[in-house]
């Protein structure tokens, strides 16, 4: 199904002050794939993500989401297909109750109230926060906020989920719950993260970025076995692959 394909070709981006953030990035993500984007801070992960729904406009190259090439005209349609979840859930939950936030997207799409209500219930159930429907966001835990943020995007029925550091700041149990939740999603997933252990659990494919370019793109386990590559990009092996501390 072509409308689930994400194709990035020779993407370049420079900030107004001429620092180059991305210098020629290319990759393709197919329907249902789960791809991790890893790299040191400043490698360009977040910048790349922001191109996927048209928030940033490339200085060169192009982005294709499904049948649409990403331009100013197609941006609205693309944002319906690509659901983006940011690092700080407080930036995404800006209304007074969980329900309102999750309903925001569908209402903007012009759906009828009954449809909106239905979509909200489904999204809340999917992430397991149905009981928090009327709770104000400032009274949610970080884990709950993360899940509600995901629900707020799910209610728009996107085909592709893009996430920036989804496990940051979560306690161990919340983290496990989130990973389990994401494993159950059938959407295509593109996840920028430092949590390499989550990548092992969730993403069969990994793209390694360094200085705005793609250094490696392949099967997760192969890449994580390559210590040299990781070191060259400012990374290390996932903790679980570093050997048992007691045995050393």
């Amino acid at each position: 199904m072509s409308h689930h394909i994400v194709e990035v070709r020779d993407l370049e981006f420079s900030y107004p002050d001429a620092t180059q953030a991305l210098g020629g990035v290319s990759f393709t993500v197919r329907h249902g794939e789960a791809v991790a984007i890893v790299g040191a801070n400043g490698a360009g992960k977040s910048t790349l993500l922001l191109h996927l729904n048209g928030y940033l406009v490339p200085t060169a190259g192009q982005v294709r989401i499904g049948d649409y090439q990403l331009t100013r005209e197609t941006v609205r349609e693309v944002r319906r297909t690509v659901g983006m979840v940011f690092q700080d859930p407080d930036d995404q939950l800006f209304l007074s109750t969980v329900f309102d936030d999750v309903a925001f997207g569908p209402l903007n799409l012009g759906l009828a109230p009954e449809d909106v209500a239905r979509r909200v219930e489904q999204a809340l159930d999917k992430v397991g926060v149905g009981h928090l429907r009327d709770r104000p966001p400032h009274r949610l835990s970080t884990g709950q906020k993360r899940r509600v943020a995901i629900a707020s995007v799910l209610s728009m029925s996107p085909d592709i989920l893009v996430m920036d550091e989804p496990t940051a700041g979560l306690d161990p149990r919340a983290r496990t719950q989130l990973i389990t939740l994401l494993q159950g999603f059938e959407h295509s997933k593109i996840i920028a993260t430092h949590d390499l252990d989550m990548v092992v659990d969730l993403c069969e494919r990994t793209i390694v970025m360094h200085d705005g370019r793609v250094q490696a793109d392949g099967a997760t386990m192969e890449i994580f076995a390559n210590a040299e590559l990781l070191a060259g990009c400012g990374l290390e092996k996932p903790l679980r692959m570093q050997g048992c501390p007691a045995c050393r």
């Binding site: 928030y55 209304l95 997207g105 903007n108 799409l109 400032h138 728009m156």
Partner: protein
């Protein structure tokens, strides 16, 4: 100094938590409560400046609301006390300027100034109490939605909601910065230059946050107007509540119930 901001944080949160109660009063449509409060305030404020006795029955409203909605009395009283200084400050001039005796109760002669001062305090307690009770029984969000349905511009109602939402976050950030400063300042208090730095940094962070929020809004197909779905039902209960309250307040305003009751009582003697 930091306690002021800490207390603000606690108070707002607590008041809004109270609004989640489930008494019959809580469940009324917020528009009825907003309108009843408005009529109450106008009735109280419209009395003449020397009025004391006729203000007293108005206390029935807050008393009954507190009882029916099961609200914490001392918390609300404390909030009243905290804001009383300004009114006290201005009102205390009344006895100063208005010295002519107005009322004599046995050996005690009260000047007009004291009478009006007392009236001022009663008015203050009633009107301010009414506002607090409105939030405690309705919740800020519902009040905003009610205001919009009653005719306030949508942008303003949304503005109130956003302010309320990010209030807590901004207060938390401020507390963190002040605490960090306090830990390194050995009790000298916040100096002007440091204060400016804190403010400036906080402002920059706030503007960055605004940009990220905007980004998040765009990602969910924001087109310039925030839409919120709320079902309100103004039914028979609300109708009776509103008309009952208005009749009570306006009736008290137009008649002199206390004098009637008082005369009745005092004339009952042998």
């Amino acid at each position: 100094m930091s306690s002021k901001i800490d207390r603000a944080f606690y108070d707002i949160g607590h008041l809004d938590t109270l609004a989640e109660g489930s008494s019959a009063l809580h469940r009324l449509d917020p528009r009825a409560k907003v309108l009843a409060t408005a009529v109450f305030v106008v009735s109280v404020v419209s009395f003449g400046k020397y009025e004391i006795a006729r203000l007293l029955p108005f206390f029935l409203y807050p008393v009954l609301v507190i009882a029916l909605a099961d609200l914490p009395v001392f918390f609300l009283l404390r909030k009243l006390l905290i804001v009383s200084p300004f009114v006290l400050f201005v009102g205390i001039f009344n006895p100063w300027f208005d010295r002519a005796v107005l009322v004599e109760l046995g050996p005690v002669a009260l000047s007009g100034g004291w009478v009006s001062f007392l009236s001022l305090l009663l008015r203050f307690a009633l009107t301010v109490g009414a506002a607090l009770l409105l939030i405690a029984t309705t919740g800020f969000t519902a009040v905003c939605m009610a205001l919009e349905k009653l005719g306030a511009p949508r942008i303003f109602a949304v503005q109130l909601l956003l302010l309320y939402r990010y209030l807590f976050i901004l207060i938390e950030e401020s507390i963190r910065m002040i605490r960090a400063h306090a830990l390194r300042s050995f009790g000298t208090g916040l100096r002007y230059r440091v204060f400016l730095q804190i403010l400036g940094n906080l402002l920059l962070r706030t503007m960055d946050r605004a940009q990220r929020i905007h980004m998040a809004m765009l990602c969910r197909a924001f087109t310039g107007e925030i839409r919120i779905m709320r079902q309100f039902r103004f039914g028979r209960r609300e109708f009776f509540y509103l008309t009952g309250c208005c009749a009570f307040f306006i009736g008290l305003r137009l008649t002199d119930l206390p004098s009637l009751v008082g005369r009745f009582l005092l004339e009952m003697g042998p």
